[in-house]
Symmetry: C2
Subunit: 326 residues, 2 copies
Amino acid sequence: MEGFKGMERKLIGVDLGGTTIKFAILTEDGEVQQKWSVETNILDEGSHIVPDIIDSINHHLDLYKMTKEQFIGIGMGTPGTVNRQNGTVVGAFNLNWKETQYVKDAIENGTGMKFAIDNDANVAGLGERWKGAGENGEDVSFVTLGTGIGGGLIAGGQLLHGKAGAAGEVGHVTVEPNGYLCTCGKRGCLEQYASATGVVHVARDMAEEFSGDSELKRQADDGQDITSKLVFDLAKKGDALALRVVDRVCYLLGLALGNVANTLNPESIVIGGGVSAAGEFLLDRVRNYFEEFAFSTVRSSTQLKLARLGNDAGVIGAASLARVFA
Amino acid sequence: MEGFKGMERKLIGVDLGGTTIKFAILTEDGEVQQKWSVETNILDEGSHIVPDIIDSINHHLDLYKMTKEQFIGIGMGTPGTVNRQNGTVVGAFNLNWKETQYVKDAIENGTGMKFAIDNDANVAGLGERWKGAGENGEDVSFVTLGTGIGGGLIAGGQLLHGKAGAAGEVGHVTVEPNGYLCTCGKRGCLEQYASATGVVHVARDMAEEFSGDSELKRQADDGQDITSKLVFDLAKKGDALALRVVDRVCYLLGLALGNVANTLNPESIVIGGGVSAAGEFLLDRVRNYFEEFAFSTVRSSTQLKLARLGNDAGVIGAASLARVFA
């Protein structure tokens, strides 16, 4: 024990993803002091993942001559379906976790620290709420526009989970009845239009019917690789088709987020993930439609914002889960 | 004091509406022991309402030889915008309350009991959750289909209010972009289609374009008074136009409630209000569309139910507000 340092116990946050596992050590106030990461080894049905997490934490503590007594606990965000009480995860397909994983028991035994776990989008939402654009508000909705769309909803100061842990599944809000078929089995989910893959789908469909002059159309017709970033970059340069694609994406996002706000009236809806790299260009257009679809009290009290923490949202939000042990 | 009775302190619930003020005395467990009501006197800018509430409570206690010490407190549901901390209400137009009303101060001073207040739809939601179809669940969404549409959302065991008290405004979820103009100023709100007045609006519009045989069409063309009840009664008898109207209403309700469930994943969505008197006939049709618009985890974990408490939901939920004083 090192006197004063022993008093200020710290948090460990773990952000488990399909390609990397990110780690951070934070003060109890949420200041990131150290960060590191390792590659995710999904071989052998993902059976190396939890041992790798334990080894990496223990190794890091040894290296910096820290002891487990200096920590309040470990929090982790994970893909898949989480049982928070038991600390188990099932159905995380990008980790090759098909069977139930007893993550909490293994990590508590392997590190000697207390451990809490939640869904990755929820955890990123907690991060943006605590230390990012959410400014530690009581009512903050977070939506991440990545390969898919995830959400984390904080209402009345607490993260919402719902009956089966599916609260915050903003990606599966129906925005276009009879629209694109989603991987979830139903049609017209927001994810099929406003995720990175959704934007490309919209772009390819609109390119087929577009007859004007457009670099985006030329690249699509030419069979080139279209990305969400390309669509937004060309739109910013005034490409006619790209602007129409962006308009359609922002219209459906504005509709979905307007209805989330009509339901929850959060003080802010924070938009993160790869697609949000389009920045104010995206936000302004979404806001225009949001204001059309949100009713007056909500329009004047719920703000749309861009996420601020980038990739750190996950480790910061994960660490915040461990504050319950303080 | 009467010995054992003095130990079991009771709750008073008040449901303030535009035509009547309902009162009830409940046990702390939510059993209604006495009910009474008085007419709402909205004359003189509604200035008689709060004094009438105080007099009615004091008179009732005198009559039954009860004392304020036998009560934990009073809870009340009200129209208008509520400031729960200050116990004030503003903008309750059906009460003629245009200016801020200091309800809590007046009632606490006038009765000597503690007082809590919330919005009427929220309070009805608390009632159905506590003692009705919500079965005291942690995550229960309530929607009331009356002249307008109100909502009360309980998530993680607590009533959601949002930044400006507008959480749960399910009536203003946009279900039809560029649809009917709502009294709130925006277009396509659920309230314009699935409230009692909304059903009539849909019926009149569809009657204009309908050319088949229909009693509903004859009555509409004849300029007769169409009601939501008539539409559902004729639909139950197989009237072709009425069935189409009901189908459209249930489609839009299913869409809105599916998206509420995709966002909150409650264990139940409880449907109350006058339109819900159509019973299973309504519920079955809404459920069909709900299952089309809710994604799989939600579909299998969120149930649609009819409200059970009828007019008592308000006083029961209102009384539950006073439990914080126990």
